[in-house]
Amino acid sequence: MSKIEINNIYKIFGNKPGSVMQMVRDGATKDEVLEQTGHTVGLDNVSLKIEEGETFVCMGLSGSGKSTLIRHLNRLIDPTEGDILIDGDNVMSFNPEQLINFRRHKMSMVFQRFGLFPHKTVMQNVGYGLEMQGKSESERDKIAMEKIEAVGLNGFENQFPNQLSGGMQQRVGLARALATNSDIMLMDEAFSALDPLIRSDMQKQLIDLQSELKKTIVFITHDLDESLRLGDHIGILNAGKLVQVGTPVDIIMKPADDYVKAFVKDVNRAKVIKAKIIMKKANEVNGIDKSNLIKVYEDQFIEEFLPQIVCTNANCEVVDKSGNIKGYITNKELQSSLTKS
């Protein structure tokens, strides 16, 4: 059973969403629907499975429906049609009380513009989810303090959010989401409002935290580099449709259509592709020049051994951790794998 399962979700914005459902099902595009009926198609038949403990990145340009999609998971937005299963429970069947309970314990969320409460201190902000869970103040403060330390904000717990910089505010947002100890974390363009250096810092912090906590994270972004760095799987949305779901390498090596191709064309492939992806297996290779070989590990990114190869014009021998030869990469293959498609 997947942790999160989305089945055939449609979301249409407008006065009478039901009236245009048939049109959308018959395959009308977003523009056609808008022109003929004045309704906006937010999501068009999206189905997804997200496994426990993985980071799923949902990517698309603005207006592609990614923020709409993430808000369906905790029902900040209700779909026009379709089912959402979390741990096998149909979220759509929840009554208001169950929904509140579900939001308190199952999910937490980080927002693009932080969504902090300006009238509460950092400590109270971080403890907000716990307050909703009904925990006592002393317990709240204890957990909040732990999380504030985990994101490196010690000493700021009694400040108000507007006294902090953007990066620090988002750390508070992250700590608030971590504090409820929910299995699922939703991150809506969480780092998009931060400047590049701080963003990269926060990404690293998230990766470190995730390696420890193993939460299921759904991350929304419009930045391909960010999605490649964070995602175990990436889903690409275009005009409300899910055009491709796959691992970062899948997306780069086998883009499903022109839209995805356009997306990945400027990416630094050497940073994303590992040696084992492009190597030819040892038993399939023959007639390779073994006189001038450089040893690389299978999990190394191309970026890491590329300079050596350029300088020496050598071929690569790919080995695993215990030194067994797994395959070879010729200079030529390396070149072609790095060429933009």
């Binding site: 905790n74 509140i100 314990h105 937490s108 969320m109 969504g115 507007n162």
Partner: protein
């Protein structure tokens, strides 16, 4: 869908029928109608000048209704009258019997804490308060009478205005129904409700309180509604995402964040209430307003001006106190600004 359409059609037909019924009533109840209806078809002179029989007997209806109200439900108004009068007199006597330096000191202390311990504002308010009595000894008591009426009116405004504003912000339908009533309250000339007020409550302070309430409550309702609706959507989403119930959201997030706007509403409410003081003096309410009126009646420009200045001073005192409290609140929720030294 069809039911909705039918409903609208029936509603419109109903309106049309009511209109025709009103026409018939006004025609048949008029004393100046032609001897028989047929004449209207022969002699078209009634199309030229507005005919005397085309006259809705609204005046008669209201007079009958008002008389019934007064005769049958007079005891309700008497009870309201007694209650308000009791509050007013207790407050007034308390302030008048207190030694005047104590009252000035009390105002200064309130100003000090409301302004967030700003010395400048506090001193200014203190000086203004002192000058009210300094202008003319009799103004001290008059100003207290005026203030007592205002405090009771504003108290009424808060009791009714805040809940109505909150309701409006939560349901579009309620807002659409209340907005025209607020427009009516703000545009209808004050004398239209002052005079019936006298008939229901008798001459004196109570009709002035009621009139002040009608005149001053709309800005409070509007700003409460606006303030709650203007709370950042992402902050509201954050509260929702962490499972806040409606009540927790309202008291924990929406109202605290709307408070600067609500305080602005109370400030506006106070200012409008004060501007009602002079008008209310015309129905025999004692206070600073009747000094202005006396000055005018005696063509004593100096006396009227002196009283006018006293009213302005009172306005400044009340404005500074309510305004600065709002500002203190606002500083926290506004984006960080550079510290002024």
């Amino acid at each position: 869908m069809n039911i909705k359409k039918d409903k609208k059609l029936f509603f419109n037909i109903g309106l049309l029928i009511t209109f025709i019924w009103l026409l018939i009533i006004s025609y048949s109840s008029s004393k100046r109608k032609p001897d028989n209806v047929g004449e209207l078809l022969n002699d078209f002179s009634w199309l030229q000048k507005w005919p005397k029989w085309l006259d809705l007997p609204l005046m008669k209806w209201i007079n009958i209704g008002f008389k019934n109200l007064n005769e049958n439900y007079g005891y309700i108004f008497e009870a309201i009258n007694n209650f308000l009068l009791f509050l007013l007199i207790s407050l007034k006597n308390f302030l008048i019997q207190a030694p005047w330096p104590a009252v000035v000191l009390g105002v200064v202390v309130i100003a000090y804490f409301a302004s967030g311990r700003k010395i400048g504002t506090t001193v200014f308010v203190g000086v203004c308060t002192f000058f009210i009595g300094f202008l003319h000894p009799i103004f001290w008591q008059k100003a207290i009478e005026t203030t007592a009426i205002m405090v009771i009116s504003i108290f009424l405004c808060l009791i009714f205005g805040l809940p109505i504003g909150i309701l409006m912000s939560r349901a579009e339908r309620i807002r659409n129904k209340i907005l025209p009533i607020l427009d009516l309250m703000q545009t209808i000339p004050a004398f239209v409700y002052l005079i019936p007020g006298i008939m229901l409550f008798g001459l004196g302070a109570v009709p002035a309180i009621i009139a002040t309430f009608i005149y001053a409550v709309p800005p409070l309702v509007r700003l409460t509604d606006l303030g709650i609706r203007l709370v950042d959507t992402e902050v509201i989403e954050a509260a929702d995402a962490f499972g806040a119930s409606k009540k927790q959201k309202l008291w924990g997030v929406q109202i605290p964040l709307a408070l600067p706007n609500i305080m602005q509403g109370i400030n506006q409410c106070t200012m409008m209430a004060l501007s009602m003081v002079v008008i209310a003096s015309m129905i025999g309410t004692r206070g600073l307003g009747d000094e202005v009126l006396l000055g005018l009646q005696q063509l004593n420009v100096g006396r009227a001006a002196e009283a006018g200045i006293a009213i302005v001073l009172l306005a400044i005192v009340l404005d500074r106190i309510t305004q600065s409290y709002g500002e203190t609140l606002q500083e926290r929720s506004a984006p960080a600004k550079k510290e002024k030294k």
